[in-house]
Amino acid sequence: MTPASSPRSAGYWRLRRWIDNLAFAAVLVVLLAPVLFVFFWVVSLSLKFDIDNTAYPPIFVPPTPTLDNFRRLFADTPFALYFWNSLLVSGGATLAALLLGVPAGYGIAKSKAHGLAVLMLISRMTPGLSYLIPLFTLFQILGLLGTLWPIAITHLVITLPIVVYVMIGYFETLPPELEEAARIDGCSVWQAFRYVALPLARPGIVVGAILSFIYSWNNFVFGAVFAGRTTRTMPVAVYNMLTFEQFAWGPLAAAAIVVMLPVLFLTVLIQREIVGGLTAGGVKGA
């Protein structure tokens, strides 16, 4: 920019600011266009009949929008069952991760003993696939194959590190004076945790729970290996649709939307925390 001291007319500066804003808006459009286009395109595909979906040149705005693809999805495939499976697996794995991970995060934050945290950091460097053969063997011995248990238990590989990381970060920001006061008033360590730290940490728990639910819901590999016909999770079901119905683009797009909708909704709920970096340690599991 020119030095502020140089004499320019007010008109020059107004024009200059106007051009500046226009250029900035153009940059925003360029940044957001790829994101918006992909989401727009999947919605567009899901609302059109397959004749329109495979037309060339492509039809962007559905001439006669239809919900038929969604109706077919739930009528022709057991998609409601898969949705329920995903809900059980991700809900269960998240709940278990909270029970185990919230106290662990508290213990680590208080004792500054980061051994477990380092273990989990290393677990993040390991490909998710590498857990599958050993756990597959283990579940075979335990006779759990063919149920939802192996899927839910392996999802702990994703959910537990997320919860522990978010909770360490959260408990470290809580002022220690409150628990110390409780301890002086005669609370045990457990009571200070249960009645002082835990209620204060509720926002952190909510964020950790939502994040671990999202990444468990999104996981494909564990379900792909462990799931049978009736224990498929949503991402596995969507992948199977792709391999069997390559050109049923309408139902495929509808399936993609049904899978993504819950996590995108949850993302909106915690977008402030995601952008604020509170969750930086937790984002994306194995």
Binding site: F24, L28, G128, L129, V238, L252, A253, I274, A280, V283
Partner: protein, 296 residues
């Protein structure tokens, strides 16, 4: 318990808090550490799933060292990783600078921008599969609008890895943006004010002030992105399954084929160990780079 109040700090502190960690630690040992140990053990055995394991020492590793398909998969992994790290770093940093400014609707637009990294990768991969279609796909149509000829995308050997990396860039640029945005929030405003008085251009201010200050954050994002790109699986598996032929078969896909298509558990486990060594080695190099970045 109504015992005498204890001072909050003291020698008894560690053992007490240790019990909070025990359940989580046990679960970690069961689902994370046990598989590691078991994998190393298996990598020293010849074992087809369902059969019995035979001790073979380091033979699995020796065979990998001369296995053409395995060595090519390492090259594919690096090629894919370089693209899927550099491009999100550049675009994500740029996006962070943009979203650091205040403008109308910033919150909403920022939320839209981070949607890709939260969306289900399999579903996104499915959408891109349809967009990549050489005859009916929308991408070739969009290219034709700006006068560029059609591409074969994931259906040709020389374009498949860049095409897959494109999806990965789309998915994970927001992640870099968030980390760098966190760095920008901590940058003080004084240097900019004095630079402006000295007549610095916006470009100069970015390179001389902003970039050095957020470089440590860019490096952190680079480390995490590198680990994740090396491990990338869903996008490649769903869109190209490593094809055409084995043109886009990365280490992770080779691992999957060995373990769950051929049931060569021993070989697959050796691949995991080599894979892990590569990830750790690269992470250490990048961590070293981060230490260096601090001296800027």
């Amino acid at each position: 318990m109504k015992t005498l109040p204890q001072p909050a700090v003291g020698s008894s502190r560690r053992p007490v808090y240790f019990w909070f960690v025990v359940p989580g630690l046990l679960a970690t040992l069961a689902v994370i550490v046990f598989p590691w140990a078991f994998t190393v053990w298996m990598s020293l055995h010849e074992w087809k799933l369902g059969g019995t394991a035979v001790w073979v020492g380091l033979r699995n590793y020796a065979e990998l060292a001369v296995n053409q398909r395995f060595l090519e998969s390492i090259w594919h992994t690096f090629y894919f990783t370089i693209l899927a790290v550099i491009l999100p770093l550049v675009l994500g940093t740029f996006a962070a600078v943009v979203f650091h400014r205040t403008f109308p609707l910033r919150g909403l637009l920022r939320t839209i921008f981070i949607m890709p990294m939260m969306a289900t990768p399999v579903a996104i991969a499915l959408v891109w599969t349809m967009m990549f279609h050489p005859q009916l796909g929308v991408l070739n149509y969009l290219l034709s609008l700006v006068g560029i000829g059609p591409s074969e995308w994931v259906f040709a050997r020389h374009t498949v890895i860049p095409s897959l990396a494109l999806v990965e860039v789309w998915l994970w640029t927001p992640f870099v943006m968030i980390i760098v945005l966190g760095g920008l929030a901590a940058v003080p405003s004084e240097p900019y004010e004095s630079a402006q008085l000295d007549g610095a251009t916006r470009w100069q201010m970015f390179w001389k002030i902003t970039f050095p200050l957020v470089l440590p954050f860019i490096v952190v994002a680079g480390i995490i992105r590198t680990i994740d790109a090396l491990k990338a699986f869903e996008v490649i598996y769903v869109i190209s399954s490593g094809g055409p032929g084995t043109a886009s078969e990365t280490l992770n896909l080779y691992l999957y084929a060995q373990a769950f298509a051929y049931y060569n558990v021993g070989t697959a486990s050796a691949v995991v160990v080599v894979f892990f060594a590569i990830v750790v080695a690269l992470s250490l190099v990048l961590l070293w780079a981060r230490e260096r970045a601090k001296w800027y």
